[in-house]
Symmetry: C2
Subunit: 183 residues, 2 copies
């Protein structure tokens, strides 16, 4: 086994918590990771800490799947995120943004994983704000918040309807960009 128990645990946790919810038992988790419960409780203080750590670890990969490569106009770079999301909603295992899903399941706002979700969701908003600023928008922070709302609302729609977005997120974001004068 070339990977460490810690890596295997975080990977398995990230996938299982997203696919089946944070209610997944520690036994099933450790079995999927090929790690003993003993090791898990040596590496993490509690299941809650593992939830937070796995979300923190998974988020960068999630961002990478959404954010655009270098180059392109701000408008195109922003729309790239919504096009990427549209593609994700067409995949069979899609269950919404992992950050939003976790925050929704963990009713406690003080849960360590909730702080992780807030921080990473802010990263997407920051990306939108930077692009809006580059485009010379009058109020880039407001536009960034609005785009984030469209992003998460699109995810919710795909989950509730259990079907792909079919371009609705892209067109909604486009309407906001047009209204803000982002050419």
């Amino acid at each position: 086994m070339t990977t460490t128990p810690r890596d295997r645990l975080l990977d398995a946790a990230g996938e299982l918590f997203y696919r089946e919810g944070v209610g997944v038992g520690v036994d099933a988790l450790c079995k999927a990771a090929g790690v003993s419960k003993r090791s898990m409780y040596v590496l993490f203080d509690s299941k809650d800490e593992l939830i937070a750590a796995s979300l923190d670890r998974r988020a960068p990969g999630y961002d990478a799947a959404l954010l655009p490569p270098g180059g392109g106009t701000p408008r195109e770079r922003i729309l790239h995120v919504f096009r990427a999301q549209d593609g994700l909603t067409g995949q069979p295992g899609y269950r919404g943004c992992p950050l939003v899903a976790t925050a929704t399941e963990l009713k406690d706002a003080g849960h360590p994983a909730n702080a992780v979700a807030r921080r990473h969701k802010q990263a997407l908003t920051d990306f939108f704000a930077a692009e809006a600023r580059a485009a010379g928008v009058a109020d880039p922070d407001t536009l960034a918040a609005q785009l984030t709302i469209v992003f998460d609302g699109s995810g919710a729609r795909a989950v509730v309807r259990a079907e792909p977005l079919a371009g609705l997120g892209v067109t909604t974001a486009t309407a906001l960009l047009d209204a803000a004068g982002v050419g």
Copy 2:
């Protein structure tokens, strides 16, 4: 006891499932409702059926809290929904749209409660579409879907950030209405 066991069960289920998630145990549920498990399993085939039934029962109340009274322009009637939502996000127990939250927690798209969520979420979209049509919008169905996306995205924002919307949903919806020419 003037209420029936069925009513007490549905009320307690609607509140507990929203406040603590669908993972709440049947024991705690029955205790809160003042109903024996025996009666619960006579009235409902399973916990899953109870989840669906409680969501179906509670949804009309949610709608009533959001939808506007009679009168007013389509634009005002639509914005009333977002203003009402803004107020809800400021309340201490707010945990997002119950329909979206339930659909997110129940990873199974075939769960009976998921069909209930889809149906009631469609009711909100239908309201938006009717108002958009009354306003003479070119594509009322698309605008209605976009407004629903903004509604659910706003709810997600309030949950992840654990703070009130502070008008962001209203301004985002306003931007879409302006873009669509809804005066």
